[in-house]
Each structure stands twice: as C-alpha cells, then as structure tokens.
Symmetry: D3
Subunit: 137 residues, 6 copies
Amino acid sequence: MPIVELTKRFRFEASHVLRNPDWDDEKNYEVFGKCARPNGHGHNYELFVTIRGEVNPDDGMLYELKQLKDLVNTHLIDKVDHFHLNHDVEFLDGIIPTAENLAIAFYEQLEHVLPDVLHEVRLLETENNWAAYRGEE
Amino acid sequence: MPIVELTKRFRFEASHVLRNPDWDDEKNYEVFGKCARPNGHGHNYELFVTIRGEVNPDDGMLYELKQLKDLVNTHLIDKVDHFHLNHDVEFLDGIIPTAENLAIAFYEQLEHVLPDVLHEVRLLETENNWAAYRGEE
Amino acid sequence: MPIVELTKRFRFEASHVLRNPDWDDEKNYEVFGKCARPNGHGHNYELFVTIRGEVNPDDGMLYELKQLKDLVNTHLIDKVDHFHLNHDVEFLDGIIPTAENLAIAFYEQLEHVLPDVLHEVRLLETENNWAAYRGEE
Amino acid sequence: MPIVELTKRFRFEASHVLRNPDWDDEKNYEVFGKCARPNGHGHNYELFVTIRGEVNPDDGMLYELKQLKDLVNTHLIDKVDHFHLNHDVEFLDGIIPTAENLAIAFYEQLEHVLPDVLHEVRLLETENNWAAYRGEE
Amino acid sequence: MPIVELTKRFRFEASHVLRNPDWDDEKNYEVFGKCARPNGHGHNYELFVTIRGEVNPDDGMLYELKQLKDLVNTHLIDKVDHFHLNHDVEFLDGIIPTAENLAIAFYEQLEHVLPDVLHEVRLLETENNWAAYRGEE
Amino acid sequence: MPIVELTKRFRFEASHVLRNPDWDDEKNYEVFGKCARPNGHGHNYELFVTIRGEVNPDDGMLYELKQLKDLVNTHLIDKVDHFHLNHDVEFLDGIIPTAENLAIAFYEQLEHVLPDVLHEVRLLETENNWAAYRGEE
C-alpha cells in the first residue's frame, strides 16, 4: 500500500515572554532581546500537523479529516488559543516557550492521540521563523 | 501633477486583552469572548501606511522611502513592537485595543509626522480581520 | 465620531459553470472558454465583507465581531459552501455565476442583514481575479 | 556532483465530490460531511512537483524548466484543469478524489514522463489541507 | 445598472536602477541608497489592473476576461517582462523607474486600450511596498 | 536530547541573466528563453535557511536567533542584496546563476559559518520556482 503524508494547518493566537527565571534581567535581555520584556508580546501562530501512513481504500483517506481536526483542537488548540503560554497552559509549565520548545511540547501532546501516524509538527511564530519536530529519531 | 498613493507594510508583534473595566467578567466574556481572558493573547500585526500626493520629479518619489520608514518606526512601531498594548503604551492609555481603536490611534500618531500626505492606516490583526481609518472625513 | 472600516474574510468552496442557456455550445466556448465545460469546475472562493461606521465607545467595536461572523455565515456562507452555484443556490437562480454577478448577488443578500453598515463585498475567485461591489452609487 | 531539488508550482481549478458508491447516503454524509453533496463543489488546487538530481554543468539546471513545464501541463494539468474530477478524467476512473488519492494518481501520471528525477508530488486542496506522495518507498 | 470593479493580477520579472543622471554618485546614494548601485537589481513585480463599469447581462462580465488578459499582456507585460526597465523599454525612456513612476506610466499605457473602464493600476515592487494610480482626478 | 529544525526566512532583491558564455545567442535563447536577454532581469528572492540540532536547555533555542540572523546577513545577504548576481558577487564568479546553482553556492557560503547545524538552503526565485540543497549526501 502506498504511504502518503497529509498536512493540516491550525491557527491560534497567544502571548508569551522569553525569560530564564534563573538569569537576571541583563542576561535575559542579552539573550532574548525585546522578547524578554516582562509584560510579554504575542503571535498569530500557525501549526502544521503532518500525519503519515497508508490510505484507507474505503474512503480514500489516511485519517478521517473531521476526526483529525477535532482531536487536534481538543487536545492542543483549545488549550493554547487566546491564552498566555507562560501562565495559562499546564503542559507548558516550566518550559521557555520558544518555537523550538513549543514544537517539541506540541508533538508530545499529539503523539498519544495520533499514535503510529503522527509524523511532524511545524510551528510558525512569524512569517520569518518556524521550528519543526518529528519525534525522537 | 499626477496624484499617486504609496503603501508601505510594517510588522510588529504585541499582546493585548479586550475588556471594558466598567463591566464585570460575565459581561466582558459575553461581548469579547476568549479575547477577554485576563492574561491576554497576542498577534503578528501587519500595518499598512498609505500616503498620497504628488510625485517629486527629481527623484520620482512621493516621499523618500527611507525617511518614511524611519518616521513610522520611530513614532509608532518602536512604541508597540514586543509590548503589551494595554499596559506598556502611553498613547493607548484607557483605550480598548480593538483593531478599530488601534487603527484610529495609530493614524493620530502618524498624522503629525506625515502632515498633508497621510491617507490611510490599515491594521491587520489576523489574516481574517482588519480595520482601516482615513482620518475625519 | 470617527468613521472606520472593518473587513472580515470568509472562505467557501463551491463549483460552478459559466454558460448562457440562450447560446449554443460554440458561442458559449467562444465567450467563456474552458469555464463553459458542462460538468463544471470549482474554486476556493475568498469573500471579504467590509462594513463602515462609527466605533461604539463601550466595546471599541464597529460591530460585535461574533455577531457579524454568525450573520454572514447564516445568511450567505452556509447557502453556498460546498454547493454547486448553478444548481443548489436559490438566490442565484438564473444568474450566470461570474465573479461580478456573485459579488452583486452576495451584496444584496447581506444588505438586509447589515443595513447602514455594509460597505463592500469583494469576491476572489482565484489569486489572479476578483470583483468588488459597493451597492448602487 | 551535488544533488539538488527543484520544485515547480502548478495551478488548476476543478470540481469533485467525495462519495463511496458502495455506501448509502447516510454513511457517505457521516464520513465525508458536506463534501458528499451530490452536485459537488470545487477547489483552486495547487500542485507542487519536486524533481531531484544532479545539475547539468552546461546550463546550471537540473531540468530545462520550459520542458518540465510543458511535460507536466501536457500529461497532467490539461487533463484536470476546469474539469470534474469524478466524471471527466479517464485516469481517475473509480478513484475517490481525496487529496491523498489525487497525489498518488498524479505521481503515477508523472513518473513515466519524469523517470529518475521525479521526487515528490504535493497537492494543496485548500490553504489548510494538503497531501504529499513520493512513490513507493 | 450596478457598477462593479474587476481586478486582475499580472506578474513580471524585471531589473532596474534608481538614479537621477543629473546628480553625482554621492547624491544618488544619499537619496536612493543601495537602489542606486550601477549594475542594478530586480523585482518580481505584481501588477493589479482594476477596471470599473456595468456588467453585461448577456455574459455576466464587465469585460471578457480573455480579451482583458490579452490586451494587458500585449500592450504592457510583454514590453517589460524579463527586461531592464532603464534600458530596454521605450515608453519608460527618461523616467526614473520608481514604483510611483511605473504605476503612472503603466496607467498611461493602458488607458488607450481600456478607455472608459480603466480604474486603477497598482504595482507591487515587494511584499512591503506598492504604488497605486487612478489617472488624473 | 530531541533534534529539532529551525528555519529562518531572508529576503533580497537582485538582478541576473542566464547565459552560457561558450554558446552563441541562438543556443542561449533556445535553452534559457527570455532569461537570456543581455540586460538581465531580476527577482525578489526568498531564502530559507534551515538549521538542525539539539535545543539548548538554558535558553530553549537551537541557535541564538539574533546571532543566526547576523551571520547570514554578514556572510551572504549583504553580498547579494541589490547587486547583479553575474557581475557584482565574487563568490558567484563563473557560475550561471540559476536557482539550482545559487542554492548550492549559498549553502557553501554558509556551511563554514554554521558548521554542524546547517541543514538546508532553499531559494525561491518566484512564487512558482524554487531549489533546495542539503549539502553532499
């Protein structure tokens, strides 16, 4: 059976701040620049979830699209959309919410609900920066 | 002399929260939905500044592009980029930072530094929502 | 009170065919080219609805965004999304569904539910073609 | 010799309907939702064809771009553009035209005319959904 | 009869250099910055041609789309695409090819072939800069 | 430690011409079409630099973003932006500046300043054509 990849885009709007609590202000500004400003800033994040596997000959789909959408919304998007990623999201506790760390954390959230098929999580912070994670290789 | 319009795109990333301080939580959530969550969320804002006027025959420009860029950055973008629009921006004090109100406030910031030529400020909050203001008509 | 414009993007996917039933095949292909093929083709339409008016000082909004979204979805998008514009849409009966005609028909659908504030309907058929209508001037 | 990848975007507009003819209406709507509506809907499809191989030192190209464009247009785009994918396309006979199935079928169409170099076919149905196929692995 | 606007996007790739031949190098670099470098640079220009008028009830179109495309290609795009705007284009002789001046010159090229209906020419130099011209007002 | 990929977009505007100096005009036009016109044309190039490696637990980053930006600007973008790729760029001497050749040459420029982490260079010439190179495999 042919192996295909299917990617679905999701969007959410959130705020965050980049700071290492073990560092003083000077060090935080040196490393994170204006991303360290204490009241935070935000992004229109775009999340691309790619699954990979065989196509079901009955419906021509790798995964029922509506079910995929509901799973990702319930287990991920609803927990981060219109929230502050440093303060409001339990599974991000203690994590500096860079694009890299968010991609890893989101992958880990999804791999339990999309076992076998989850292939990649790609997170765009802006049109100029994004991170991708494909699990432990 | 022919009258042309010139538009320049600017980008900034900021956080905000939509709340009327005179209302209780219930009323705020009813009107603003998840935009009222107290820790705020954020956007990759896109700002389109349009100026309008005659072309200078010496340089073929309506306005020296570098000067336009510097003016808008100094008088507007540097004051909002990577800040919290409710807490960090003096000229937005007491304003509910909806796209509509931001477009008006940004226009008013710029009309003093771009007199005669400022034509329109257009602010995109997301790919699905934007507001435009062209001054008092 | 300042007058602002607010634009909201909507999307729908539909099929259509361009044919004048009073013409024979040859004439239809001459005028409409491959758009006249009888089994039809389709588009990812993008619809930009612009409203215009004063901002409400209580909530900083020209129109409650959720209400605007629900109105346009109920009175327009739900009637055309995933339908065949020539066969399935009552209010398009007898209309050749070009971008121009659709923009006019959509404006007329919306002006009854968005009286006073509806300013423009802009319909993108592809990234290369769109039509705009602002009512009778 | 260095191995590079070259991707070319193609566009076509087509209509389709998602239905398994062995299922009754109820089952079809349950699985495919509004995509099962019998008169069909359509998309502005974007197709990204990626080829992979060595660069020819004489012209600095992996493949003569004009020849690549003509081959893909003749053997693929001209057969699907402004057609109904369920009714008008011989090589799609009996295939439910999901993004996954189309990516596979398009790859198979192209691998005979682009032997050795064809690497991937990526098909965007909307800005939110796409499928990719790289042949049997 | 309702008045609609129809916009068609065109693309062309060209090179140019911004210099006033009456100025010395120092003055040219002061005004035009790196755009004054003598060997030139280039852009993927996007041109949006907007026409405005009544819809023809026979075909539902403001203008036959194929005819519009052919006219603009013949009278404008074919003269600038893959050319150097300072050296290769007769109708741009003696004009500093800024976005503003190009928008005006392109409008003047098109107003003779699209009399009565031509409404606006909008020229994007990059995703961050564009100029629009609507004729003498 | 998890391995992630981080991609940063850069932009530059340049002109080029595609010609093999060992061929006569006729052969050059046959192979390169209008890209062989002697005065050249240009593009808004987009460059996507992807690095790959472990996340630093102290700052949650694969690479300090500001440092990455400065390195790529200094060692690559500043050398090509607003220049003529055939005449003004030392490291492109003798290279026909196709997208394929540029991707390889840019990768080679960057692998010395981003050792161990550089993963891919992707160069978009237009929205319809791009080349990617990941080093010798």
